[in-house]
Every structure is written in structure tokens, then in C-alpha cells.
């Protein structure tokens, strides 16, 4: 049995003048014990999808199941077995760390002691501050507390809505390490993020844009589908270089990527001479270019532009 199945989910919002299609015919499934990432820019519909799956929002049409329970008919069972960590910190800011955890354990009819082993590693990091009010924690610690609260009833499926947004790079790395440890315990994790570099940390990813799923595959699978070659180029005047590249007819797309610009040629125009010409014509200094293997982010850029 799949942990999550989603079939043809549609959700539209009526906003004053028009209709916004937040979820447009979404279908995918997640295997048990998998970290499934939903990657997409802001406004892609990630939160709406999470709210449908956590029984907070009713979809217009389509069906979805969690652990085999329908999100409409079996909402009671689902609420007992999912953990949900919303994108916004939404624990009681005026209660202490321990009180929050106790409260969320109580409303799921369990105790901290019962599932302590599951949260132990995470909780130990915030335990020194357990008497502090949740509102006074730092961003990273809030995140850890929220994760503890979402895990305290030992859910079989964990929903994490943009857990790493607004968290520093070190905490992000730590957070993903925690997720991998949870995965080993057999918890299925559905995680959304706007950061493409986190895609490679998931077992499977779905790229979402404007309410549609563009591609569902493993990271390697997505890269394998990418047939084009990519050039990385660099020079002293990066901004002018970008403009020159964009003016060129033969180039399909180019975008800044770290220290380099990545360039994809149109089919049949794959030509390193062209790049050299641009460099010479524009009198760019310290010009550097190389052919590289596409990464997951290059694939997404490609998919999103299609």
C-alpha cells in the first residue's frame, strides 16, 4: 500500500474578479518510508496541496488517500496518523517549550515519555531551553520544536510545509539530516521547499509550478531525462555578459548560477565557437568557459521554461 496517493486533485479559489487555479489536476503517489519533495516557487500551490492532504481543505474534485484512508471519508483516522508542520511557526508562543510539547502530546492522547525515543535526538538540542517561551526561541530552535510537536504522536506520514524557509544554511543542513534519520525509522515524509538545491536530498521530487506538476521522478531520473549540454561561463563583467548572451539568437536560455552563468543552446546550435565570439566581441576579460554535467537545478530551470 502506498503511503500517499493523489489522483486528479483540483482546487480553485474564487478571488473577487477571477478564479485562481491553485491545484490543477494533480496526481502522484508516495511510497512508504520515502522522502518526497515538492519543489516549486512561491504561489505554486504547495501549501494548498498540503492542506488538502492534511484534511484541512476540501478539494473541488479528485481523490487522495493517506495510508489508504480517504481524505474526505477517513479524515478521523488520518488526523490520528499524520504530523503536520505548517510553513508559518504556529505553536503557542506564550507557552514554554515543554508546555507546548506536553500539550500537543496530550491532544493526540499520548505522552512525551511514550514516544521520547523518536524525538530524543532533536529534543535534546532544545532541552536546555525547555522553560523558555516558544516565542522567544531563535528561528532554528523554533523549527526543531515544531518538528518535535509534529512527531510527538509518532505519525506514519509527516507533512512539512517549507520547513527550511528562513533558516540559515547550517540549520538547514542539520534539519535535512534529521529528516533522513526519521526516514530510517519508517516515517514517510512529504516536504515542500522553494530551494531547488534541496531536491537532491529527497528520494523523489515533484516539480510544481502554477498549480501543475511538471515532473515526478527520482533526482537521477530527472537528470537522466535532460538531454542537452550545458556550458558554464564566467568573466569579470557578469551582468553585461548576461545581457550579451540573452541577445544571441542561438542560445535557448541562460541564467546565473553561483559564480557562473549557465548557458543552454538551441538544438543544432550547440557551439562553443559562438561563446568565444561573444567573449571576443564584447572584450570580456578573464573569460572562462567549460562544459558541465547538468544538475537537478538545471533540469528545473529547463522544465519551468518549457
Amino acid at each position: 500500500m502506498k503511503a500517499i496517493t493523489v489522483e486528479n486533485i483540483v482546487k480553485t479559489y474564487r478571488i473577487k474578479k477571477g478564479v485562481v487555479e491553485a491545484l490543477n489536476d494533480i496526481s502522484f503517489s508516495v511510497d512508504r518510508g520515502e522522502i518526497f519533495g515538492i519543489i516549486g516557487p512561491d504561489g505554486a500551490g504547495k501549501t494548498s496541496l498540503f492542506r488538502v492532504l492534511t484534511t484541512l481543505l476540501r478539494a473541488d474534485s479528485g481523490t487522495a488517500t493517506i495510508d489508504g484512508f480517504d481524505v474526505i471519508k477517513g479524515y478521523k483516522q488520518i488526523r490520528n496518523r499524520v504530523g503536520y508542520m505548517p510553513g508559518r511557526f504556529s505553536l503557542y508562543q506564550d507557552l514554554s517549550v515543554q508546555e507546548n510539547l506536553e500539550f500537543f502530546a496530550a491532544i493526540f492522547d499520548t505522552t512525551i515519555a511514550q514516544n521520547y525515543d523518536l524525538i530524543k535526538e532533536i529534543y535534546q538540542q532544545i532541552e536546555p531551553f525547555k522553560a523558555r517561551k516558544a516565542g522567544q526561541l531563535s528561528g532554528g530552535m523554533k523549527q526543531k520544536l515544531a518538528l518535535c510537536c509534529a512527531l510527538i504522536h509518532k505519525p506514519s506520514v509527516l507533512f512539512l510545509d517549507e520547513p527550511t524557509t528562513g533558516v540559515d544554511a547550517v540549520s538547514r543542513k542539520e534539519f535535512w539530516e534529521m529528516l533522513h534519520r526519521l526516514k530510517i525509522q519508517g516515517i514517510t515524509i512529504l516536504v515542500s521547499t522553494a530551494y531547488m538545491d534541496e531536491a537532491s536530498l529527497c528520494d523523489k521530487v515533484a516539480l510544481m509550478q502554477k498549480g501543475r506538476l511538471l515532473s515526478v521522478n527520482t533526482t537521477q531520473g530527472i537528470i537522466a531525462q535532460f538531454k542537452k549540454t550545458i556550458w558554464a561561463i564566467k568573466a569579470t563583467e557578469m551582468f553585461r555578459l548576461m545581457n550579451e548572451l540573452k541577445n544571441s539568437e542561438a542560445i535557448e536560455s541562460c541564467y546565473p548560477f553561483g559564480q557562473y552563468h549557465h548557458v543552454v543552446f538551441k538544438p543544432a546550435a550547440n557551439n562553443s565557437e559562438l561563446l568565444k565570439n561573444i567573449a571576443v566581441r564584447g572584450h570580456f576579460t578573464q573569460f572562462e568557459m567549460k562544459q558541465i554535467e547538468p544538475g537537478i537545478e538545471d533540469c528545473f530551470m529547463e522544465l519551468m521554461q518549457a
Binding site: L56, L57, R58, R79, S90, Y92, L95, F103, I107, C149
Partner: protein, 373 residues
């Protein structure tokens, strides 16, 4: 049950930790009960009197002295013409003009009859009405004195006269505090019941914590009870404090039982908390819920019979007050406090409150959804 216990524990912790709530909870009743009843005085005093005396006789002076001596009027203006007198009213120096025509004394002595003219500034209706009535009473009194002076007291009245003696039951001294204090207390309890409770739930919406509650297996009724009970306790605490202040400061001891008041208050709060809950299911932000509950409680208070008697309202307004829970509580408070009514006397009101409670809570529960869209 265990879940409910934890919900209550959490709620009470949050209330106790919020210094604003505690402060408002204790200071608001103090101020309202210590200041308002003293300020909201129904007696009208210090009416500014303007006199236009064209006569300048002994009788006219006597009349003016008598009016001033009553204590209700202050002589602020003395003019020689009515136009000037009216000017004083326009400048808000005088509220009332008494015009004594020339030959007032002469006419009174010769013709046994003399006219007087009283003009009242009716911008403030209460002041005008009472001022007019006071001055008429004084003039009638004065008239009586003159008749006595001239004719002596007739052994038998030449004309049959009906003499009226009245006695004020339940509030013999017509002490307005005795009926204002219980009314203000009702207002307070109502505010705490409706706006505090609705604000609290909307706060959970604003903070996003309600989402966490909604994805949990908590039952709807557990959540709602977890919200109702703490605010019921708060409101009862405020009621107790108010009754203590009424007793210690104003010496108001209810003739009926305190138990009667508490029994009614319990049912009443069910209704009012239901209203708060209902507001919270519609409001998305604390601002919205604040404004709506402000509006609702204001209408409720003005149409409750606290300030103006319900019986003197027009028929349609009286009909509205029948749908206003506050008017029932004020009525019951006054009945129990002043008249000593027991449970059997207020059974209709209790029944009505159960009706309100059922209506508001039923609507609120129907409208509260853990799932949206």
C-alpha cells in the same frame, strides 16, 4: 475528558500569562463600578436660569428667590428684554428663561391672575424636561403660598381636590445607584463573555495555532468546551468582584439570594459565550472580532433598559429588546437585588436564556469547521 483537562490547563495558563487580560479584568470593573455609578446621576442640578423681569416688584423678587432657593437653579443672567435673554441661551449661558411681564404684581392682586412665560433650551431633552417640570412645581407652590397669604387656609376646600401621596416601593429613597450598579455589572459580564471569548479564538486563527488543533483528533465539542469554560470562570469571577464592590462600597445587599443571581448568570453566560463563539467563527482577525463585538454590545447595552426604561421605548424597539439577552439579565438583576425575587419569579427569563444559549451555540457549532473550503 483527559484532552479537555489539558485544553483547560493550557487556556488558563495563557490567560494568566497575559498581563493585559489580567489588568483589564481587574481594573475595568473597578473603574466602571467605582466611577460610573457616581457620574451617571439622573438628577438634574445646576440648571442655569436667565430672568427677564419687567416688573421689578416685591412679588417678582419673591418668586425669583424661591426658585433659586430650591437648589436646582443657578441665577446666571438678568436681562431687561426677552431678546437679550434669548441671546444668553444662544451663548449657552442660560438653559431656561423666566419672563415676568410688567404689572405682574398688579395683575396678580387686582385680577387674581397673572401670566408668566418660561422658555426652555431643549437641546438636552432630559435637562429641559426636568428643568421645566421643576420650575412649574416651584411656581405652583408659590401660587399656593400667595393664596394662603391672602385668603388664609380655608377650613373646607371650596372645590373638591384629590390629594395624591405616593410611596416608592423597592427603592424608597429613589436611590439611582441601587439600580445602576447591578446594570453596569451586567454590562461588564457581557463584555467579558462576548468579546474576550471571541477574541481569544480569533487569536488562534491569527497565530495559525488553530491549524495545529484542526489536524489533531480533538473533537469539536472538546475544543469549544475548552474555550467556553475558562471564560465562563473569568466572567463569574468578575461578577463576584462586582457584587463585592456593590456591597462594600455602595452597601447594596440583594434582597434575594446570591444563589439566584449566580444560577441565572450561569445560563446567561452560556448564551453570551455562544454569541462570542459565533462571532469568532466569522471573524478572521482580532480587529474584525473586536469591532463587531463592540458594535453588538453597544446595541445590546443601549437597548437593554440600563439607561432608558424599556417601557418608554416605541413598540418596535420594545420588540427588539425581547431579542436582547442583556435586557433579561438587567431585569433579573434588579428583580433579585431590589425586589427579592426568587427562582420561580424569573423562570420565564431563565427559559428565554436557555433559548438564546441553544440558538447562539447551535449556530456557532454549525458554523465552526475544522476543515475549510
Amino acid at each position: 475528558m483527559r484532552t479537555l483537562k489539558f485544553l483547560l490547563q493550557k487556556e488558563l495558563r495563557q490567560i494568566i500569562r497575559d498581563p493585559a487580560i489580567i489588568r483589564i479584568l481587574f481594573i475595568m470593573p473597578m473603574i466602571q463600578l467605582l466611577v460610573l455609578p457616581l457620574a451617571a446621576d439622573y438628577e438634574v442640578k445646576n440648571i442655569n436660569l436667565g430672568v427677564v423681569d419687567h416688573d421689578h416688584s416685591q412679588y417678582s423678587r419673591l418668586l425669583i428667590n424661591k426658585i433659586i432657593a430650591s437648589g436646582y437653579f443657578r441665577l446666571r443672567d438678568n436681562n431687561s428684554s426677552f431678546t437679550q435673554g434669548l441671546h444668553a441661551v444662544e451663548q449657552d449661558k442660560a438653559d431656561l428663561i423666566l419672563e415676568i411681564p410688567p404689572q405682574f404684581e398688579q395683575a396678580l392682586v387686582k385680577d387674581n391672575e397673572a401670566p408668566l412665560f418660561v422658555a426652555v433650551n431643549a437641546i438636552n431633552g432630559v435637562k429641559a424636561g426636568l428643568g421645566g417640570a421643576y420650575i412649574q412645581n416651584i411656581i405652583r407652590d408659590y401660587n399656593q403660598e400667595i393664596r394662603m397669604q391672602w385668603a388664609g387656609y380655608p377650613r373646607f376646600n371650596p372645590q373638591p381636590v384629590i390629594q395624591i401621596t405616593s410611596s416608592d416601593w423597592y427603592n424608597p429613597n429613589m436611590n439611582y445607584k441601587v439600580f445602576m450598579v447591578p446594570g453596569i455589572l451586567v454590562m461588564l459580564v457581557t463584555m467579558i463573555g462576548s468579546s474576550f471569548a471571541s477574541n481569544n479564538i480569533v487569536r488562534e486563527k491569527e497565530m495559525g495555532t488553530i491549524e495545529q488543533i484542526n489536524v489533531s483528533p480533538i473533537k469539536k465539542h472538546e475544543f469549544i468546551l475548552g474555550k467556553l469554560i475558562p471564560f465562563w470562570m473569568l466572567a463569574i469571577t468578575v461578577l463576584t468582584m462586582g457584587l463585592t464592590i456593590a456591597r462594600l462600597v455602595y452597601g447594596i445587599v440583594p434582597l434575594g439570594h446570591y444563589i439566584t443571581i449566580y444560577i441565572f448568570a450561569t445560563v446567561y453566560l452560556l448564551a453570551i459565550l455562544g454569541l462570542g463563539l459565533l462571532l469568532s467563527t466569522y471573524a478572521q482577525t482580532q480587529q474584525q472580532s473586536m469591532l463587531v463585538s463592540f458594535f453588538v454590545t453597544m446595541i445590546f447595552n443601549l437597548l437593554s433598559g440600563l439607561y432608558t426604561p424599556i417601557e418608554s421605548m416605541p413598540g418596535w424597539a420594545q420588540l427588539i429588546t425581547r431579542f436582547n439577552p442583556v435586557s433579561y439579565f438587567i431585569e433579573v438583576m434588579r428583580m433579585v437585588m431590589l425586589k427579592g425575587s426568587g427562582l420561580t419569579d424569573i423562570k420565564f427569563q431563565i427559559l428565554a436564556m436557555f433559548g438564546f444559549a441553544l440558538f447562539f451555540n447551535g449556530w456557532a457549532i454549525l458554523n465552526y469547521r475544522k476543515r475549510s473550503g
